[in-house]
Every structure is written in structure tokens, then in C-alpha cells.
């Protein structure tokens, strides 16, 4: 009975409602075009970069023609693994002549049902290498973008990264990130006595170099924004201390001379400030010091462990980790240490917060048994997991703020490896390294 009545009343009431919402006589209903399919990777054909004259170069790739193939291979490799593109080539594709680089025969490519086409040129100019890079929309028969660079022979791979960045940015809307470098900790040896060395490499793993021998354990590196130095923790002389490693001179200095252990070094976005954490009588607090040296300013003073710290892109705030509530949680404070507020309330523990270079997200490690990389808004909004494994730890951002790098440890063996995942949680992939690896830290895009 009651149910019936309800329906009746509803029926009666609805017409009345109708009178109140008159149709707008001027607007006509728009045509609603809805994408209800999953993202389709954009197919991109990448041909050999053509040369006007096949001549020897001072690069380690060989002649300009060999260089041309090397460049397109790097680009294909870059674009392959980030989940947006389905690159093909250069192998197995029709190759353009030098004259066709900027005037592809679209009909040919339409026939091969590729959506986009990347072509390029490479020339030896004086002692330098001139590289051109052009992106075409095959279906529309249009050039979307193009650029040229002149690089020193030793930097030839950077031209490929610049071209990858051009294509990636044009087709994703995101800022570039391929032409960047990564500092990390290379790990070898048994779990109980693992050797940990500071190492650097290009974003694609090339130009790899070990910076320390492994005699002193190295941890938690951070590239300076100008790529000139690296902050890291070393057990040189037996005690954990933070050093600045100068890449030009291969020398290092203590960030601050103290009898106490120092951990968790961080740069400010402009490279003028350094954050570090120092333990005193069991308590750990966060300090700020000028990159030039001088006196340190203590930013936290609550009992317990306050550690880490990551600047907001405008350098006005710092997000950090503290166990003052009883367990590791994420807090935000002003850059002078005032107004410290907890922002993580997700259950479990929240650690290693890192502010996105774009400012819209904070990446962190969420601990609830397993470690998972997650993001939240700077206000501490909802948690969004990006990974799901046994131990994924220490996220750091790509320069464009859209890709996160972290390290994953295997249960049991403890073997660690570097991984990337994009901000949507899709497109997880392992970054190849010569040995086991941890603590990845991405430097900014190179000029």
C-alpha cells in the first residue's frame, strides 16, 4: 500500500515539476560525442634519419647514415614504453630520401595504416652534428611540428632525446622529460652485505657511470637542478653523512660538519637551498642550509623522527614525514618551519613524500604491510595508488611531473630494481640498469 501510494504521489508531483523547468527555446541540443573506448596507443612510424652525404663522424655511432639509424632507434625505444605510443621502425619501413624528410608521401603511409610519422635528417656540419626532426599526422597529411638541433658529437644521443621530447610533448600535451639524467644507487653482492654505489645515467639508461667505488655505502642521491652536483648519503669514515658530490671535479664535501648522523638530503627547486635531516640523541629533525654553506636553520622540533622534505615548486612550502603522531605520516609546513600540519589520513603509514614539479600532486610511499607508491593532492585529498607490489618505495618525479620513478624490492632476496609508472597508474615499466638498483632521482630537463 505504502509503495503504491508513493508511486502515485510521485506521478502526480512530477508534472508539476515539469512546469518549473521550461526548455530553453534558443539552445539546441548539442551532439554528444562520447569516447567510451580504452585509450588506443597512437601508432607512429619512425624512419631512418636521412643524410645528405654519408660521411664519417666523431660520434661512437659511425657515419652519418649509421647515426641516422641510431637516432631513430633511440626515439622508437623512448616512445615505446610509456603507454601512449605504438612505435614502429626504423627497421622494416620504407626509408625516405633526404629530400623526402619534410615531404613524406602520405599516401604510402596511409596505406600502412600508421597514424603518425616521424622523419628526420642528420648532417655533419663542421665538427658538429645537425639533426632535424619532424612529426606528421598521416591521416590528415599535415606536419604537426618540427625542430632542428646542432650537437657536439659526444652528445648525439641527446638529439634523439630532444626529438623524442618534441614528439611526446606534441602528442601528449605534457612537458618533455627524455633529455634528462637519473642518479641512483647501484647494488651488488649478497643481501647481508650489499655493496651500494652512486651511479648516474641518461633517462634511457645510456651513458652510465659509477661515481663511487662501493667501499663506503652510498644512499639516497639527488641531482642538483643544474646537474653540476649530487647530494647523497655516504658512510665514508664509517658514519652516515650527507655530501655534495661535484661532477666536474669528482670531489665531494660535507654539507654540514657535525658529529651527528645526517640523512635524507634534498635540493630546493632553484638549487639554492639544501634540506637535510639530523639525528640528535635519537630524535631526528629537518634542517635547512644554504647550498653555499653557512649556518643551518632547524625547521622541526617535535619529539620523534622528522625526516625528508620536498619543496613545493614555488618553494613556499615543504612536505615531509614525521612519526610525531605515533607512526610515519606526511606533513606540510611553510618553508620557515611554521604552520606544520598533517595531511595524510589514510590509515597505515605514509612516507617519503615528494612534491610534483607541477605542484598538483604529492607522491609518497603508503605502507600497510606492503609498500605502494601513491599520490594525493597537496591538501591531502584522496589517496590514489599507482602501484601494487610487495615493496615499492621512494617515488621521485620525472621533470614533467607526469611520470614517477621508484624502486621495487623483491620479497626474500631483497633485490631491488628501478621502475616507472605514469600518473594514471598505467604503463608501469622496469628501467634497465647494469646491476640491481634503488633510490632513483630524476634530474630536470636539460637545456
Amino acid at each position: 500500500m505504502k509503495f503504491r501510494l508513493t508511486i502515485l504521489l510521485t506521478l502526480l508531483a512530477t508534472p508539476a515539476l515539469a512546469q518549473q523547468i521550461p526548455a530553453d527555446p534558443t539552445s539546441e541540443a548539442a551532439i554528444d560525442v562520447v569516447d567510451d573506448s580504452d585509450w588506443q596507443d597512437t601508432s607512429i612510424a619512425i624512419t631512418d634519419f636521412a643524410t645528405d652525404a654519408d660521411v664519417p663522424t666523431a660520434t661512437n655511432a659511425g657515419t652519418t647514415a649509421q647515426l641516422g639509424r641510431g637516432l631513430s632507434r633511440i626515439i622508437a625505444g623512448n616512445l615505446r614504453n610509456n603507454g601512449l605510443f605504438k612505435p614502429t621502425g626504423p627497421d622494416g619501413l620504407p626509408q625516405p630520401s633526404f629530400g623526402e624528410v619534410q615531404a613524406p608521401s602520405f599516401g604510402l603511409w596511409q596505406g600502412r595504416s600508421t597514424e603518425m610519422l616521424v622523419q628526420g635528417s642528420v648532417r655533419a656540419v663542421g665538427g658538429q652534428i645537425a639533426v632535424g626532426c619532424y612529426l606528421f599526422d598521416v591521416a590528415l597529411g599535415q606536419q604537426l611540428t618540427g625542430a632542428t638541433w646542432t650537437v657536439a658529437p659526444g652528445d648525439w644521443r641527446r638529439a634523439a632525446h630532444k626529438c623524442s621530447d618534441l614528439v611526446y610533448s606534441r602528442l601528449s600535451g605534457e612537458n618533455p622529460f627524455f633529455d634528462s639524467r637519473i642518479a641512483y644507487i647501484a647494488e651488488t653482492g649478497p643481501k647481508s652485505r650489499r655493496i651500494k654505489r652512486l651511479a648516474v645515467m641518461d633517462s634511457d639508461g645510456a651513458n652510465h657511470r659509477f661515481l663511487t667505488t662501493g667501499q663506503a655505502m652510498a644512499l639516497t642521491p639527488r641531482y642538483s637542478p643544474d646537474y653540476r652536483s649530487i647530494l647523497y648519503l655516504s658512510y665514508l669514515n664509517g658514519n652516515p653523512r650527507i655530501y655534495v658530490y661535484d661532477l666536474a671535479t669528482n670531489s665531494q664535501r660535507l654539507v654540514t660538519a657535525t658529529g651527528n648522523p645526517t640523512f635524507a638530503p634534498r635540493w630546493s627547486p632553484d638549487g639554492r637551498w639544501i634540506l637535510y635531516s639530523m639525528a640528535t640523541a635519537g630524535n631526528t629533525d629537518i634542517y635547512r642550509i644554504s647550498a653555499q654553506g653557512g649556518a643551518s636553520q632547524r625547521l622541526t622540533s617535535s619529539p620523534g623522527i622528522n625526516i625528508g622534505g620536498s619543496f613545493s615548486p614555488d618553494s613556499s612550502k615543504i612536505v615531509f614525514e614525521s612519526d610525531r603522531s605515533g607512526s610515519q605520516q606526511v606533513y606540510v609546513m611553510n618553508v620557515d618551519g611554521s604552520d606544520q600540519r598533517r595531511i595524510s589520513f589514510f590509515g597505515g603509514r605514509a612516507a617519503t613524500p615528494e612534491w610534483s614539479p607541477r605542484g598538483d600532486q604529492i607522491a609518497f610511499t603508503h605502507i600497510a604491510g606492503n609498500f605502494r607508491v601513491a599520490v594525493m593532492s597537496p591538501g591531502g585529498g584522496t589517496l590514489r595508488y599507482l602501484t601494487d607490489s610487495w615493496q615499492d618505495e621512494a617515488p621521485s618525479w620525472a621533470p614533467n611531473g607526469r611520470i614517477i620513478q621508484f624502486f621495487r624490492s623483491e620479497r626474500g632476496s631483497g633485490k631491488a630494481s628501478l621502475w616507472q609508472v605514469d600518473l594514471t597508474g598505467r604503463n608501469e615499466r622496469r628501467l634497465p640498469t647494469p646491476a640491481d638498483a634503488s633510490d632513483p632521482a630524476w634530474g630536470p630537463i636539460r637545456p
Binding site: T6, L11, L12, Q19, D32, E174, R402
Partner: protein
């Protein structure tokens, strides 16, 4: 609203119910339009054309022949009431978008997937079996309402437009062949016919938009609204213009331009549009297209 209740007063309730029934009956009698009812669970929003075709406007057979593409599903079931039109009742058009919902489809006509052929069978019935998707609120689909609507069945309606609408809803090409005379009186085109061209454009654009919303955080919130103008041969008279964009926030700002670009590309890839030239004036300038991700 009606659920405030009568605790145990059965007699009163019965009496009230009877009274209400009577009232409803009366209302229905005087209310020529389709019965208003609860928000259709199918979440199909409908556009209403205000300009009612006074003359019978036959739909263009060719254009209609193709079954409508999968209807757009409005994100929320909006209880949009139909306007109390005195004249030809509102024509529920299947195609639609979420916002300017003028009227509610009286009966459920959800078509998650464009499967026109199968629906043909169902056509004859005034009210084809609704393919209820996991209907949010099955109970809410008031049976009573449809019954009322049955009266002004396709055939009964004077305006060809309304028939088209119904056909669309049912996805019945056959019906159109019958009703939509082969001789389109081009002179006076009903808004429904115009809407049918919009449908046709949608069918042609939609495949080029699948999987094209740029990847990224919150890109599913982006909406790009494009206006297009066509030549008689179905090509673009000029490049699509961006009428507006919605849903931009800090996270998806970087993709907003890409989104618009992808939408324009989808339009370009759909040209030339296959539309009947004799109705060129009708579809020369169609309603704007709203490009978005399903929600």
C-alpha cells in the same frame, strides 16, 4: 518526496490512493503529452525541439535508414520533465547530451551498444522492450507511464517528426521506410529531422573519437565543444571552431588543448559527411558537438 508515510492508516491510505488514482486519470486525460514520470533509469537524456513542425515532415529515408548509433548515456539520471506541450508532444530523441536536457524520455530506451538489427524485431510494439542495462533503479521505471504514451503511438501522430523520434528510439529502420515517405517535403523540415541529421553526424564522428581522449589525470572530465559548418558535399565549409571547453582543472590543463585538437581531428577524419544534399539547408549548420569521455 512521497515517502513520508502513513503509519498504519490503511483506510485513509486506501481512500487517498483511490482519490489519487482518479486524479491521475483526470490528469492523464487532460495531459496530451507523454506521461511524466520518474527519471528514467536508463539515463537517457533527450533533447526536445521547441520548434514543432507544423507540417508533416517526412524524414529522409536514407539518412534514417541506418540505425542510430549507440545513444549517449547521460551521466546522471536527470529527472527532466517534459514540457507541457499542448501540441505535438515532445519528441524524444535518442541522441543527446547530458546538459541541455529538456525532456525526459518517457520510456527506457537504452542502447548501450549500437546493435540496430536486433532491435528491428522489437519495433512493431509501441514500446519495445527496454534493454535495461543494469538499471540503477528498476523500480522507478514506472510502468504506468509507458501505457499512457502508447496512445499517441507513432502512427497516431500527425507529425512525421515524432515518428522518427520513435523509430530512432527503437532503432527500427523498417518503420521509417514505411512512414517516412520516399518523398521528403523538403520545404518544411521538422526539427526532428534536423535532429536526425545530427544523429547521422554523430554516427559518423563517433568512431573517430574512440580511444582518443588524451591520457592523463582527470582527462575524463574534459569536454570540448566544436561548431562545424558543412558544404553541400559534406566537407567542412571552414575548420571546426572551438565553442568552449569544460572540466579543465590543474591536473588536466596540459591535455585540454590536445583534447580539442583530437576532437577536431575526429571531425576532419569523418569528412565528407554522408548527408542528403536535398536537405542541405537543414544540416548546413548543425548543433555543436560535445566531445568527451564516457563517465
Amino acid at each position: 518526496m512521497a515517502s513520508r508515510a502513513l503509519h498504519g492508516e490503511d483506510y485513509a491510505g486506501l481512500a487517498l490512493a483511490a482519490a489519487l488514482h482518479a486524479g491521475l486519470l483526470a490528469l492523464l486525460i487532460y495531459q496530451p503529452g507523454p506521461a511524466r514520470q520518474l527519471p528514467a533509469p536508463e539515463r537517457i537524456a533527450v533533447t526536445l525541439s521547441e520548434e514543432t513542425g507544423l507540417q508533416s515532415a517526412s524524414p529522409e529515408p536514407q539518412a534514417q535508414a541506418a540505425p542510430p548509433a549507440a545513444p549517449v548515456i547521460a551521466p546522471e539520471p536527470e529527472p527532466a520533465p517534459a514540457p507541457p506541450g499542448a501540441a505535438p508532444p515532445s519528441q524524444p530523441l535518442p541522441k543527446v547530451q547530458a546538459e541541455p536536457v529538456a525532456a525526459q524520455v518517457p520510456r527506457p530506451a537504452p542502447r548501450p551498444i549500437p546493435k540496430p538489427k536486433q532491435r528491428v524485431a522489437a519495433t512493431p510494439a509501441p514500446r519495445p522492450v527496454a534493454q535495461p542495462r543494469p538499471a540503477p533503479r528498476p523500480a522507478a521505471q514506472n510502468r504506468p507511464a509507458p501505457v499512457q504514451r502508447a496512445a499517441p503511438a507513432p502512427a497516431a501522430r500527425p507529425a512525421g517528426g515524432s515518428r522518427i523520434a520513435d523509430d530512432f528510439l527503437k532503432g527500427v529502420p523498417g518503420a521509417q521506410a514505411n512512414a517516412a515517405s520516399r518523398n521528403p517535403p523538403a520545404a518544411n523540415i521538422g526539427p526532428q529531422i534536423r535532429a536526425s541529421f545530427a544523429q547521422s553526424v554523430l554516427r559518423q564522428v563517433r568512431p573517430n573519437w574512440q580511444g582518443r581522449v588524451p591520457q592523463g589525470v582527470n582527462t575524463e572530465k574534459l569536454v570540448t565543444i566544436l561548431a562545424i559548418e558543412l558544404n553541400r558535399d559534406g566537407t567542412l565549409a571552414k575548420p571546426p571552431t572551438i565553442v568552449g571547453q569544460e572540466g579543465i582543472d590543474d591536473s588536466n590543463r596540459a591535455q585540454a588543448q590536445r583534447h580539442a585538437e583530437a576532437a577536431m581531428r575526429a571531425v576532419q577524419l569523418s569528412t565528407p559527411f554522408q548527408l542528403p544534399a536535398e536537405f542541405y539547408d537543414t544540416w548546413k549548420k548543425l548543433p555543436p558537438l560535445r566531445f568527451r569521455k564516457s563517465t
